[in-house]
Amino acid sequence: MTEQKSAIEKIRLSGGAADSAASLDFEVSKLDNFLDPLSDWFSSILIKEARQAVKSRQFVWTYVLQLVLVAAWTAIGFATLTSQLGTGLLLGYFVILGFPLAVIIPFSGYRSLAREFDDGTIRLISITTMKPRQIILGKFGSALIQLVLYLSVLAPCISFTYLLEGISIWAIVVGLLISIGGSIFLTIFGLFLAGSFRSRNLGVGVSVVFSIALGFAYFLWIVFCFETYDGMFRGFGNEKYLIATGFTFSVGSTALLLLASVVAQISFPSDNRSTLLRVMMLLQQMLFFGWFCQLLCQEPFYRDVPKVILMITGHYWLLMGFLMCGESSNLSRRVRRSLPGTLAGRIFLSLFMPGSGRGFLFAMANVWAAFLFVMLLVVFENFLFDWTNQTRSRFGTNIYASEAEIPGMIISSLFVSWYLSLVFLFNRFLWRRISRKFEPGYGPVISLFFGVVLVAMVSVGSFLIEAFLSNYGLRSSLAWAFNWYRVSFEDFSSLTSVFFVAFVIQAVMVLMFAVFLASRDFLVVAVETPERVLIERQPTKTNRLPVGESIDEIFGELPAAPRRDDEA
């Protein structure tokens, strides 16, 4: 109000240009006051980042440069391109748009979070009532706003090309979707990097590598545009559709997983950092299964589908399982408050709670769920093919092939489980003893390192044994069976050596022992939430104010400013 009054005063006292300036000020102020309540709906980080971003030199320069380039390319295009004017202009626009989308926005996102760590301001944000999720989504949202602003420059021009010959709506939609989707993924990846490499020294190296990678991504985008000059934008065939959905699912779900991972990284140590990540992993696996079902329906000739599913999920859960086995077994009281209280809840939901034992069992459950899924595919193949009106003869071939491979698939799943069990036991017995010297956050990294070393050692060891045996004219297929990248599917009939039988027996024993130990984590019972917390939860659900008090109670008590000598 005071500002408004002063603006009115200015209007009264001065004339001419000053009048119009004050009038504009007043109007802006009115608009500001009108819009201010609307801003409450947005994340504070988003507003702050947007304010900073649009005031930054980098944004202004990029924006202006983009305007100039668009104008120049339009003029040059009309002057020089005689044939295929529309395609030429569109490609040029996409190349211009690609630079801010592939380089500027992802790097801004990365720097935005990295700077919080460098300047120590992340501490100030962390102790506000904002959730880590809100912080990261705020950063991400700010990148999206920049994306919209950059797009706004090119949107009219790109739309205009639709009127020109040779440009279909597909060309525009697909080009935009790929460029926007790529920019979003790279931005999330940048946030992930910033959250993972927080040390200032390491950050410099990561900045350099990331900027080079972004430059390369932009180069790939240009190549993609020009290489697919003719065919890319002309609608989708069946195969393109499958590739596009597979790519979208895998990139999209990975982006979500990375986003959840950054949120977990900046969460408070006693928070539950695992459940969201596990939900994302499960989502990724389900999307993966769904896509393969679609693939089978569309293309029944791919008889290797079951093996491919098991191979991909096996390696995926090896990686994720190694990380999860490294989680701390000690649950904070905060987490224990949210543990399922009932037996049914414990059975189904405990797997999603943090802890190395639960993580191990979660990974194991998913490995065997993948196996079960594959078995179901084999068993219900008839149903699938009838459903899609495929001929039975094609189908019959698949059944025989799959059934013959079932033993190999069992061994494959057992093999993955064995690796996971060993890493879990390593964490339970060895790492726990020395981990006091390290921060808890190192656990998953050490666990992953141990797992990778273990896999490499087993691979090399089996190869050496194989080589040793071959000197004596013996053949055991050990190297084939234990090769790290290709767990045993084929040649199962030849895997009857004593080594292999011994492996299966000890693997089952190790697995059972690990499962027994891990299942003890399910015995951890929930603790009661303190009454005071329960009482306070009630008003905060409806009232966003701190401590659930009325604003008068809170701000009515703020002390008056102490007097200053000069004012006196």
Binding site: Q52, T121, S270, R337, E557, A560
Partner: protein, 321 residues
């Protein structure tokens, strides 16, 4: 546990280790409502680590800490609503002005609409930054930035304030202004935990002082009690530092003091001697009478005023290795 609920800040046997390094070692203390506790210690003593734990930026390796009865480990979100923290660095952002900075933190603490605007106005008024609201933070002086950071810590009007080296690097005027603001906040019933190297500042604003070195809490008490002035009981024996000025030969005085077992000679000059003497008022009086009747011709006898610096040096000197 009842003490836990009553105290606004409570640390109970808190330990924090980083590998083999013990940053905080079994520390316990509390701060009541409206109380100002000074946290003194040399660099690396564990002050900032303790404050980080209370500010929900770190968790203790063992032990418990509460703010307004809520555990900093189990209920950090509730602690954050009640606590404002001002770190030793400013923590400001480029390309935004003072008002936008406070607006950002007001929003981050969940304040909406008119409440947010009111909070910003109040804090601007309290920290006297009204005139600078549209000024970019990068253009502020150190003192102004410090005020802005105090304003940020106050934006949600917390019951507890944790100030880490708030007066570091400020000129005398800015320090006086900061001290006034701290006293004003304490008068309003807020609990404050303040660390500082400027011990004279702390002595003026703190109700109690805690001395920490190498992670261990060496002493805690009111400033008076630490300065050994706590008791007015004339029967109680206490250690005082006395100074005697004389006009006779110094060797005479030194000889007289050497002959006594109850006085510890600290220093001597041509015409004065400083010594420690542990006694009640009655014994002090007797000691003075004996001194006057000796051959030492004294013209002044006084108790040397102990400062917080003296206490700090005497408490921390080599006690923890």
């Amino acid at each position: 546990m009842s003490e836990t609920v009553e105290a606004m800040i409570q640390l109970d046997r808190v330990t924090r280790s980083f590998g083999d390094t013990l940053a905080v070692d079994d520390i316990s203390f509390h701060v009541g409502a409206g109380e100002v506790l000074g946290f003194i210690g040399p660099n690396g003593a564990g002050k900032t680590t303790s404050m980080r734990i209370l500010s929900t930026l770190d968790t203790p390796t063992s032990g418990e800490a509460w703010v307004d009865g809520f555990s900093v480990v189990d209920d950090p979100d509730r602690v954050r609503r009640r606590m404002g923290w001002m770190p030793d660095g400013f923590g400001t952002y480029p390309n935004i002005n003072c008002e936008e900075y406070l607006d950002f933190f007001a929003r981050s603490y969940g304040l909406r609409g008119k409440n947010r605007l009111r909070a910003i106005r109040n804090v601007m008024g309290f920290t006297q930054l009204n005139q600078l609201s549209k000024k970019p933070i990068s253009g502020l002086s150190k003192g102004m930035k410090q005020r802005l950071c105090l304003g940020r810590a106050l934006i949600h009007n917390p019951k507890v304030l944790i100030l880490d080296e708030p007066a570091a690097g400020l000129d005398p005027r800015a320090r006086i202004e900061l001290r006034e603001m701290i006293l004003e906040l304490a008068n309003e019933g807020k609990s404050l935990l303040i660390s500082s190297h400027i011990l004279s500042e702390l002595a003026e604003v703190c109700d109690r002082v805690a001395i920490i070195e190498k992670g261990k809490l060496l002493a805690i008490g009111s400033v008076d009690s630490l300065l050994n002035k706590g008791s007015e009981d004339s029967q109680e024996e206490k250690l005082v530092q006395l100074e005697v000025k004389f006009i006779s030969e110094p060797s005479e005085a030194v000889r007289w003091f050497d002959a006594r077992n109850d006085a510890e000679l600290i220093s001597s000059t041509e015409n004065s001697i400083v010594f420690n003497y542990a006694a009640c008022h009655k014994r002090q009086s007797k000691f003075l009478a004996e001194l006057v009747s000796s051959k030492v011709e004294i013209y002044e006898f006084s108790e040397k005023q102990t400062s917080l610096e003296d206490v700090f040096l005497s408490v921390t000197r080599g006690e923890v290795q």
